[in-house]
Subunit: 214 residues, 4 copies
DNA sequence: GATGAATGAGCCTTCATTCAT
DNA sequence: AATGAATGAAGGCTCATTCAT
């Protein structure tokens, strides 16, 4: 539905559905599930209030559809990563790919943060389908990688949370960080800076990792 | 919690007011300003819906009072730091003090994150009264401190955002991180881990800083 | 209660009760029974919201007390008139006395008008205890007095309603009439004008009445 | 009632809007702006509470719309009168036309009276758009017409207030006058009586007016 | 496929009223 | 006698949702 099927002109219905999802993402990202007014989504999408209900049965299901649409590519990345060779280089690539996806959907991070903070019903999905697939293999790797580093032992999983925050938080907290850097954190330039920052940090944290990133 | 004025028994009204603020902090932290139902705050505080309005003139003013109450000690910390000697040791102390305050008010981080994400009206206060006083002197220090390190130039301000995220985010994203570490991130033990993690990271990022932290 | 018992200093309670009635008259006159907020009466009287309830059991009973207090002297006038010699002179005196009382309680007319317009529960009292005692004998007189005048027949009772309106309406509609006469209709001067107007009108309507007014 | 636009079937929305206005007129006429409960209007109109708000943005704007709708034809009458030849005949016609309009909207007088008594926000409109256009030319005429009559001087403007009261008050005070005449004052018969009464009174007050009314 | 119109439920807020002090 | 504090019950208004067209 979201990803247009190549070589086929999307029907009017598909087009409308897409517009609604797009609008919903923007509005939900700002006001959360409870705080969002259906009316605002409809207005943003340029459709009638009622039209929305021929595409999604309720506000909360629309919300879930929005989350699903944004999160799935992330999950796919993770799964791919966890199945392949998990060296520093791959980790770097994962960060790069993640930042790229997030910068294309700047509202996704906010949506996810809101869902986490409000302990929404999608939180478990996030955990079980996205975080754990990333985490479970990573923890094994980390145990090894952090051996004889300052991060060994209990600090190891915090490495994961650190990078989760540095990537997602960069977008979610953009309204505040804008003040810090006096520029738009979601701009191409600053996304690049943040990506570089993260990779540099990764290198510095694991200076003896077998394979270095370019 | 209730900042009792030494030597004076709080009146019934003061007690009720405090209960309301306490309850409001919990509920706002989960649902944000718009998503919160006054009824839920009243129920949590164990008072009638209407009682609330003899203490605060409106939902949004209650929200602001909650934020103000939580943020002010943070601001005081920052101001103190920015006026004193700003070496690595002081930075470490600032982190420690901040983490301590946040762990005593575990909902504060969520409140602030929600305010940032939804670009609430308190955001500007946050920026002007809290972040800038921290930032403006810090940027000067950082320019110097990051010279000939990987963080020099544009990456320098990202050092600030990183530590903001690692402290506040640790609490705000606790519902998700609980899954990662299989324990409560806001527990005394894990707050200590995270604090240690941050300080270790600080040391590693600036290995040549004149004064090391213990 | 209202009329102080001569030679006795009113107790504090009597004084408070009086202040409440005074305030209630003002506020009810403006907003009517339903539109009036108890709070506004209490504030006007300078007492606590709750104090009011130690004097009157409910808003509507306070309202009735206010009406009763204002209307009773009018009723007494009427009864006296209807029992005495009912000539033109007496009618003139009745008008004068009525206007005098109304000018001393400028809110009374508004209270009564509101009660009539909203068909309040006191309306029947007004009719049975005040209007009918005036009307029933008057109609007999009028039948005689209007004989061979333009007012005979069905128009006769309208003579009564006319003078009711010219007296009460002068005060009740003062906010509008102020615009007409560019002065305060309830001022001593204009009350005198209106009284004179009514008596002149009465004379003109019944030029052959046996006894003329001075 | 519903001022149908000739040759066009009113849409459902127009029909509903009209029903709401009609109902609002009835309820506001009894309870005034503050005393009226939106719910009662909705019930009277046979629509849902919320429907009302898709037609009028607030209770007070609905109130104003009701007043405006009722008052405008009166204003038009006045303006026409004040621009034409203003002799006794025209004055009589004005009274007749006014009484006709008022008898078709029997609640209008009550609405206006309530607005005057409670010094509502529409009072100034009433004065500036309705009363003054009538009054300003009339006062000039009256100065002339009352010369060497009992009404000359200060009593002249009271002639205007008298006829205002005799027309509007007849309807506004109907609930009380019903008791006096033992019949419905707003019935066709009694409106005719009152009209005749007023015109007779006018003639009697100005017996030497150049042109007599039929 | 889209929308204008309608509505039940709920929200924020206020009100009349009560009670303990 | 008076009041600060509390509350159940509305009151005005909005919202998510439905339905007829």
């Amino acid at each position: 539905m979201v990803e247009k099927i190549e070589g086929r002109i999307p029907t009017r219905a598909e087009f409308t559905r897409e517009r609604i999802l797009e609008a919903a993402e923007i509005v939900f990202a700002r006001h959360g599930l409870n705080g969002t007014r259906i009316r605002e989504i409809a207005d943003t999408a340029g459709v009638n209030n009622a039209t929305l209900y021929s595409y999604f049965p309720s506000k909360s299901e629309l919300h879930e559809a929005v989350l699903e649409r944004g999160v799935r590519p992330l999950i796919d990345n993770m799964v791919e990563f966890s199945r392949g060779v998990r060296d520093m280089k791959a980790a770097g690539e994962l960060l790069r790919a993640g930042m790229k996806h997030l910068s294309e959907r700047p509202n996704l991070s906010r949506l996810i943060y809101l869902e986490i903070i409000s302990e929404g019903s999608y939180l478990e999905e996030l955990s079980s389908r996205w975080l754990r697939p990333l985490l479970d293999p990573a923890l094994v790797d980390l145990k090894e990688a952090t051996a004889s580093t300052p991060w060994e032992g209990n600090l190891a999983p915090l490495v994961v949370t650190t990078f989760v925050q540095l990537s997602f938080g960069h977008f979610a907290l953009a309204p505040l960080f804008r003040e810090v850097i006096d520029a738009d954190p979601t701009s191409e330039e600053w996304v690049a800076h943040q990506t570089k920052f993260m990779i540099t940090l990764l290198e510095q944290m694991f200076p003896n990792a077998p394979e270095q990133l370019a």
